[in-house]
Symmetry: D2
Subunit: 360 residues, 4 copies
Amino acid sequence: MRGKEFSFSLFGESHGKVVGVLIEGCPPGLEVDKQEMRVDLERRKGKKRFSTERRERDEPEILSGIFNGRTTGAPITVVVKNKDVDSTFYEKIKDKPRPGHSDYTAGEKYYGYNDHRGGGVFSGRLTVGTVIAGYFAKKILSRRGVEIRAFIKSIGGIECGGCDLEDIFHEDFELCPDDDAWERMHGLMKEVQDDGDSIGGIVEVVAKDVVSGLGGPFDEDLAADISKNFFCIPAVKGVEFGSGFEVSEMRGSEANDEFYFEDGEVKTSSNHCGGILGGISNGMPIVARVAFKPTPSIFKEQGTVDLEKGEDTGLRLKGRFDSCIVPKTLSIVEARMAVVLADHLLRWYSWKEFMNLERE
Amino acid sequence: MRGKEFSFSLFGESHGKVVGVLIEGCPPGLEVDKQEMRVDLERRKGKKRFSTERRERDEPEILSGIFNGRTTGAPITVVVKNKDVDSTFYEKIKDKPRPGHSDYTAGEKYYGYNDHRGGGVFSGRLTVGTVIAGYFAKKILSRRGVEIRAFIKSIGGIECGGCDLEDIFHEDFELCPDDDAWERMHGLMKEVQDDGDSIGGIVEVVAKDVVSGLGGPFDEDLAADISKNFFCIPAVKGVEFGSGFEVSEMRGSEANDEFYFEDGEVKTSSNHCGGILGGISNGMPIVARVAFKPTPSIFKEQGTVDLEKGEDTGLRLKGRFDSCIVPKTLSIVEARMAVVLADHLLRWYSWKEFMNLERE
Amino acid sequence: MRGKEFSFSLFGESHGKVVGVLIEGCPPGLEVDKQEMRVDLERRKGKKRFSTERRERDEPEILSGIFNGRTTGAPITVVVKNKDVDSTFYEKIKDKPRPGHSDYTAGEKYYGYNDHRGGGVFSGRLTVGTVIAGYFAKKILSRRGVEIRAFIKSIGGIECGGCDLEDIFHEDFELCPDDDAWERMHGLMKEVQDDGDSIGGIVEVVAKDVVSGLGGPFDEDLAADISKNFFCIPAVKGVEFGSGFEVSEMRGSEANDEFYFEDGEVKTSSNHCGGILGGISNGMPIVARVAFKPTPSIFKEQGTVDLEKGEDTGLRLKGRFDSCIVPKTLSIVEARMAVVLADHLLRWYSWKEFMNLERE
Amino acid sequence: MRGKEFSFSLFGESHGKVVGVLIEGCPPGLEVDKQEMRVDLERRKGKKRFSTERRERDEPEILSGIFNGRTTGAPITVVVKNKDVDSTFYEKIKDKPRPGHSDYTAGEKYYGYNDHRGGGVFSGRLTVGTVIAGYFAKKILSRRGVEIRAFIKSIGGIECGGCDLEDIFHEDFELCPDDDAWERMHGLMKEVQDDGDSIGGIVEVVAKDVVSGLGGPFDEDLAADISKNFFCIPAVKGVEFGSGFEVSEMRGSEANDEFYFEDGEVKTSSNHCGGILGGISNGMPIVARVAFKPTPSIFKEQGTVDLEKGEDTGLRLKGRFDSCIVPKTLSIVEARMAVVLADHLLRWYSWKEFMNLERE
């Protein structure tokens, strides 16, 4: 993600030495607490029961950019070592691309030179770096009072019920604010897992207390930047803001969010636009939903091709896989929202003080 | 849109002198036919009956980058002059932001210095430049055999029925391949218009004969770039690829697209992924859907604020507005898909011949 | 020039309809005075006697981004129409690249599709857009008190004598603060012109009252950005800062600029570094020199190739050319310095207020 | 350095855990030979006698992007661990910026949060990553037959005598092709060292067999990109191409390089332009010179300020320093030339095959 002020680059492979991230443009002086960083990294591993149990603790190792416990302003590099990786099975299926995975397209892109083991650079494991970048972005945002929270909106069509947007920041839940719905989602995940299959879902994410005026027209569009970042998360197939696809069925008189004053601040009485109007934040909560496909790693026999032999064949995967990756994605989705908002917030400051100069 | 090889920048205002576009990175030698350019510009104005009847012909004037009827490789600038613009009404509502419009957020972004007349730089009129950029991008793509077509998928919940993806490139339709559905959409648009209201809809777009291997991981993700571009179109609130949000309800055994060989080429038996796996094109048609909100310009009384007086107030718009902008967006959606694919295609070539060097 | 906050793109051709510029990232609210803009454009045309006398007045036409006499914050487009252009001669020499000109390399780059007339997009005339971008950049800088001034340091080896850097901002000179030297330069230019030849020179440029802390390591290096911009000016073959190439002959004990306090501010007792240390401004004047080659347009017979016939041939140019372009470059060099400093100043603000947040 | 196709980002600090580099856009399939990489890294450490004798072997550790001994196309990360670092002295001078060093400006840029030990991120040690990036860039170039070689042009005004540009690629020299001059340079370096002082110098670099057509107008200017990269090397104060600053004293009839045919290829009879015309390579050798200031680390007493106390003070450095860093810079200068040419070469391919499509 290359923002104008805040950027990060991911590196590493699933079965390589490390996964990591290089962060550029993070302001100096931010206190770094590894324990906080670990919390988001642990969230990225989801509930133990339904996640791939690769028994490694993701311990972040800081290689650069931190001095005396604070960011220096220089590039920050953090790596997490990979462990316990057996690549034997991947050698066996080297020429048989797994359906729904990037095996085939990675080979096309990289002329067959890609590290195919465990998906290589396309592995979900690379999101470790995203979460770490998100940690720093959230630190930037929190200084301005911006908070971000993601939760499971649905799994396999089972929807999280009425959740007040303000409440989700106060309620003490881990994955989904609706306990009943989560019970049923949980049951479905187990059922699907017993069946050797997988299931998709939707994550909703909210950013509150965002200043108005972030973003702009064309390439500066805030929704466009956020959306690009969400689609950089593996397995995402859809992104919407506010009322999203539903708004296509609405009338203007319903979809338009009316303005009113509250304590001298401009608010809107509804938030169908999801906090972004004309590509610019309006000060209301930014609300987005991200659709994840079921993880393509399933235990059922699937049809594929043998690229070596040039013929159709079948494939049955082995190993330990999540039946549903959605619970693992919350800190990733939050991170992607955070990095865009941090970049736009820093850009916003570049004009803000300059405009004050004039008014002196 | 700043691609690595192909870029464009929009400029102009709704009630200013011109709207236009500067295109950088377009290869030399492409024949330019203004009549073809006009066709997409006319499509951008939609059916006369349901569109804002600003009686101007959008005549493209080429300022740079074309010589002897062909692109030179240097920056291309094209402008379209604005005409017939009465800004009186906009002066009256200067301090009363129209709900659902960018008036309020533009003022926040630009500290009140923005040209507010007709939405200024945020006006849908700026998509003239997008369509012109798309014209050049399509020329690049067509040399490689890539074709793009958009159609109305739904308006106000009325859905276009079974349309075979291959057929939409051959069928001779203007807006929607399903005549019956279009009849009903048309009826709804009229009904809504008579009611002084507006209605949203969904556009589907397909790119076929795209080479496999476009895109990549992280910032190179093809879906991410396309999505970013779609969200740069005014009024877009959702984007999805392939089975999109529906995939969140699917099982992996259903959502995974199985590979097989057809005439020596790798194909997939379904296309739930919408032609993009791991951020990279797989050679199948790229299929995306874009959700448009109802145009916020309606004739009903709406609540807003008076920013000058600092109090709540009401607003009733005057003028001629579309009840539904969806029919006007087809060439814009196609253009946004085209510019991303053209950029990624040119980038793909940068490795392709280099890789051949090795194999000599 | 694509800065992170302030950017501009040039377009147009020497014998095309217009030359122009698209400026992105200029803050809103800056008053625009066309008369001021014209002054820099007139400076770009230099002394009448020694410049190509294409009798056009460069009248800037603003196409976008200005409203009520001020910048809006949206993209600014300005064009200047071309006039009086006779391309006949250029048709005759189409296949005979002029030595020292870009004719040959432009053909290589653009596969022969380039507009070759008058150098096309490579013409010095394109610097009109640079000067206009510089006008806006200077407006940004002046709000913070930064001033930039360029002068002729030497022509054909005749050097401008002792000029106190502070004085050049107060002295009322047009091209060179040393009247005697200028007299001799002027004589040399006339002599060279009578001989049908041309002569090179060096421009020195100074920016004063620049805040310390602009720039950074690696890609953020301020000298690197300025240098890149200077080399984007046609005919530049060398760039140096402070004592520049001479520093290669110095000892560290001489070249190191010692620090001291003056009225509570850190200053250096010498300025061999030219105001930039470690890629970052130190608050002292930024001093750079730019070497221009003699304009390649001369009236003497020269050897070249006939690309059509594939054989060596000769060439004698016709027309009106400057014997020395250096006097015309002052506002261009200033503009290139200004755009980099404006970009870095805006970036500097993006951290400045953020850092204040912490200290509250 | 962010090219359009090939990029790299440096990270690490002089006294931190590692220095390293992240390389993006390197094509897949390039064989990686660590021994070759070590050669350039050893060259970066120069002659033992005159270089800072920090007794660490720079052993590159590859963290990502290499698989089965070849590049994969994914991001490449290489780090070199730091060793033997005693930061005691730097703590003592924390508030006394060393003249000529980045200590003061780094503090200004980073609000005092920078890692000041050994210059932190501004240390010459960071060029380890540049040399590694150059290793990969050279591999790309060599597949197309492009070779790059740098040599010492002068130290303290002692100039390398007549060196035929073609010869420097065949001659077996380490630092300077003129043995006599090198003897005298060597003597001067020793003399300066005994005096506790340092001395500057100039490096010349040549790239041969570069294809014509790399680069372009404006932001694509090849000289501008190379120059920007050279100025990113610590201690560089001047850059020139071809006859460089001398060209300012030439007449056009002398400076213009005449074209002629040789074996069907267009050549120039002289190379005052240094292989770049109008920002585009002309197929002749690209020749540039880079001026290095004397390293600011000297043993003489120098005046500086005490930022803590707010008063003027003196400073005498301790440790082991090079009296001249120029011999250590050759592989760095080559690397900076290589990364720009590699990026532009890959970009050149993006049009090349596309243009062939048309002519089929």
